[in-house]
């Protein structure tokens, strides 16, 4: 069948990759590994940029109205006046921090980066099913990112109506909001191409013998994630089109009749519904939470199995729980909207689904922690990050409970409690898992290990400061401190807990400093890291470790054949404590 396969990558295989000019090989590459690295590097830069935005914002919360020392003078007068931040800039920082971290940082890193690089290797495929679409996916993401960044420089600045962009406020916001919508359209189409590619690759291109229940859990997590991206993103695309129409063609999809802005009757036809946006937005944005967390769980499972040297506890339970989680994530979205005056039946329905979705999360977390029992745990840097993910995600999940029940949500809605809750899920949760993944797969990508000492310094300081940043937010939230306040001192109820803001801000800046060892380690190790002694430095079982290091174009010298499940560690009577999936006999 080989002689009439005409995939572009197949042609490359024949002519050898050296024939390709530089720009085809590293810039407009169709190789999933190059694209994966492009995604990883771009999204790490975006993560850092998004973090810088919030470090700026935290100055205003800690020291409201005081000029920002040293760097404040470099900002234009539209953003800061002699170093004092303007509300315009504050709200841009807030909205763009959320947008960039989620859509340009974590998702592209977790799915675009790790998914692209690791997934085809783990299923023994030479590439993704549609390499050209894969390249397009990256470049759409890149353009979307550039548009988002450029929006800071348009008159009125970037989007400033929150990352949720609720109309009518976003409808009447400055032009940056239009840029935000156009940028989102690129990002949505990028993720659409990516998810189609992932699904087809997983279904069609698994190596011989690699049945669904022999897939590493990471692949399962990516599979479920791809379905979420495929089916949940389009309604946001629809919503973005409607909001673009409202902003550009002056329609009234989200503008009700009789709107009066600044004592002026709005010159629109009216008849729209502001809450419509929230439905379409949260129809995406709740599954999006699981897009952020599932790949993280996948990475953590791989690393835990490898570093406990034993099979995962309840692999099938993990798989079924993640499928169920994905399914349920589509029908919980309105728990973000309890205060928009929904009927009793609706609120009961969404509270019930929200409680139900906590069960598979509990199962996954329990399964992962029980996997430690009976192991022989190696405390490598990736393992430390993976282990830290568990309690951090646990806190994030538990604190979701009071927000999922309407009665307690009344008090906690739109307070710092919410911010603490979802940051525990995605910051010390998902981002720790992503760091774990970087440390874990770095040797496969570069052929060199990252430095363990720097890695451990990075871990311990990040762990401490992450908690110093987010734990006090629960106290603020219980005290009723509301989010998105330019001046935290306005309200009497916020003043007693204001010292916490200073504590959080200082911790956030220290957390920023704690990333320096990582940056040094990451770039330093590319050139100076200790070379790996063989293709499988962690003695792992899954297929990516049987490929050459770094994997060449086409990945495997011979198509791998799989004989066993993904986590055959410490098989009784084996000579070595791991049995690769490709091993016909137990070694």
């Amino acid at each position: 069948m080989s002689h009439h396969t005409h995939a572009p990558s197949a042609d490359h295989g024949h002519h050898g990759e050296h024939a390709l000019p530089f720009w085809r090989k590293y810039i407009f590459s169709v190789d999933h590994k190059v694209i994966g690295v492009q995604y990883t590097v771009t999204s790490l830069l975006f993560l850092f940029f998004g973090f810088c935005l919030i470090m700026l914002l935290r100055w205003q919360l800690a020291y409201p109205g005081q000029p920002l020392p040293l760097i404040g003078q470099f900002f234009p007068e539209t953003q800061m006046i002699s170093g004092i931040m303007l509300p315009e800039f504050y709200y841009q920082l807030g909205a763009m921090h959320g947008t960039i971290m989620i859509f340009l940082g974590i998702v592209p890193l977790a799915v675009g980066g790790f998914g692209n690089y690791v997934l085809p290797l783990q299923i023994g495929a030479p590439d993704m099913a549609f390499p050209k679409l894969n390249m397009m996916s990256y470049w759409l993401f890149f353009i979307g990112g550039v548009i988002m960044l450029a929006s800071f420089f348009v008159p009125g600045g970037a989007a400033q109506s929150g990352w949720t962009s609720y109309p009518p406020l976003s409808n009447i916001a400055p032009p940056g909001q239009t840029w935000w919508l156009v940028g989102m359209a690129f990002l949505i189409n990028s993720s659409l191409l990516g998810s189609v590619n992932f699904i087809v690759t997983i279904v069609q291109l698994r190596a011989d013998g690699l049945s669904f229940f022999r897939l590493p859990f990471f692949v399962w997590a990516q599979f479920v994630t791809s379905f979420l991206l495929l089916l949940a993103f389009p309604p946001l695309m629809a919503a973005s089109v409607l909001q673009l129409m409202d902003r550009v063609a002056h329609t009234s999809f989200f503008m009700p009749t009789g709107l009066v802005v600044n004592d002026q009757l709005a010159q629109v036809s009216g008849g729209g519904h502001p809450v419509l946006w929230q439905h379409l937005f949260w129809f995406l944005a709740h599954p999006e939470v699981y897009v952020l967390i599932l790949p993280a769980m996948g990475i953590v499972s791989e690393i835990i199995a490898c570093n406990t040297r034993k099979p995962l506890y309840g692999y099938k339970a993990l798989v079924y729980a993640s499928i169920f989680l994905g399914f349920m994530s589509f029908i919980v979205w309105a728990h973000h909207m309890f205060l928009t005056d929904m009927g009793i039946t609706m609120s009961a329905f969404f509270q019930v689904t929200t409680m139900i979705i906590s069960i598979p999360s509990v199962i996954i977390l329990t399964t992962l922690v029980l996997s430690l029992w009976g192991g022989s745990i190696r405390f490598t840097t990736p393992m430390l990050f993976a282990l830290a993910f568990l309690p951090m995600f646990g806190i994030g999940g538990l604190t979701g409970l009071p927000l999922g029940l309407t009665a307690s949500d009344v008090h906690l809605h739109d307070t710092y409690y919410v911010i603490g809750h979802f940051h525990y899920v995605v910051a010390p949760g998902t981002i720790f898992a992503l760091f774990a993944g970087v440390y874990h797969w770095f040797p496969k990508v570069t052929g060199r290990r990252m430095n363990e000492t720097l890695g451990k310094i990075h871990f311990f300081f990040s762990f401490i400061f992450m908690n110093c940043v987010f734990m006090p937010m629960f106290i603020q939230g219980l005290a009723g401190v509301l989010r998105r306040m330019y001046d935290p001192m306005q309200y009497a109820h916020a003043q007693p807990v204001q010292p916490l803001n200073e504590f959080i801000s200082v911790s956030a800046w220290l957390l920023g400093l704690a990333q320096i060892p990582f940056i040094i380690n990451f770039f330093g190790s590319i050139w100076r890291g200790k070379k790996v002694e063989n293709d499988n430095p962690w003695q792992a079982t899954t297929l990516e470790w049987t490929a050459p290091t770094p994997p060449p174009h086409g990945n495997f010298a011979h198509p791998p054949v799989v004989y066993r499940g993904p986590y055959e560690y410490s098989v009784p009577n084996a000579r070595q404590d791991y049995t690769p999936q490709t091993a016909k006999e137990v070694l």
């Binding site: 005409h6 189609v196 629809a238």
Partner: protein, 198 residues
């Protein structure tokens, strides 16, 4: 050998489909949700409105009926062009595909008359929520038609070279393009009564 992507021409032995077929169905699933979002908006806006006009009173039903006929005819010529390839008849394929592309263009021409007529009377999307959803949904559908015409025109002319190298893969591509084109037809089948006839 090892660096080749499998199941591009031949279906996977277990799933029974080729990569492109599964891929295009995934894409269509996503499209269903895209139009689902818009239909949901339509239902919600219409439900909350007290002065929603009857489509047949403000829109041109005969023109839209003609357009419906054009689109379903193009759907049948599309499927016939694929059937011609299965019968290894490239000439017939070209004929049916050319008709499909022309019918697609005819749809756009008729649509532009409809839009032009509205613009002449200063009816823009901003006039009312009804016109807003009418222009948005038919406009987005029109963009899908344009996309389909580009794909079909590509397979009619330069893309058909693949036939001589790998007829099976080419037939698969035409089937995939056809699935998309039928989907565009299918969206119109719902848009037409909901916007024009109710």
């Amino acid at each position: 050998m090892s660096s080749e992507i499998r199941y591009i021409s031949h279906p996977h032995p277990v799933t029974g489909v080729t990569n492109s077929k599964l891929g295009v169905w995934c894409f269509l699933a996503s499209e269903i949700m895209l139009f689902g979002g818009l239909f949901s908006a339509l239902v919600m806006l219409r439900g909350g409105s007290t002065n929603w006009p009857h489509g047949f009173e403000v829109l041109n039903v005969p023109l839209a009926t003609l357009n419906t006929m054009v689109l379903i005819t193009s759907s049948v010529t599309m499927v016939l062009s694929w059937a011609s390839l299965v019968r290894k008849d490239l000439g017939k394929y070209r004929l049916y595909m050319a008709v499909t592309v022309l019918l697609g263009l005819a749809f756009l021409v008729i649509k532009s008359f409809e839009y032009g007529y509205k613009f002449e009377h200063h009816i823009y999307p901003s006039k009312s929520t009804f016109y807003a959803i009418y222009f948005t949904m038919t406009g987005l559908h029109g963009l899908h038609v344009i996309g389909g015409i580009i794909v079909n025109a590509y397979f009619l002319l330069p893309g058909s070279k693949l036939w001589h190298k790998d007829p099976e893969q080419f037939t698969g591509r035409i089937e995939a393009a056809g699935l998309y084109w039928h989907f565009v037809d299918l969206v119109w089948i719902f848009l037409f009564p909901i916007l024009y006839l109710l």
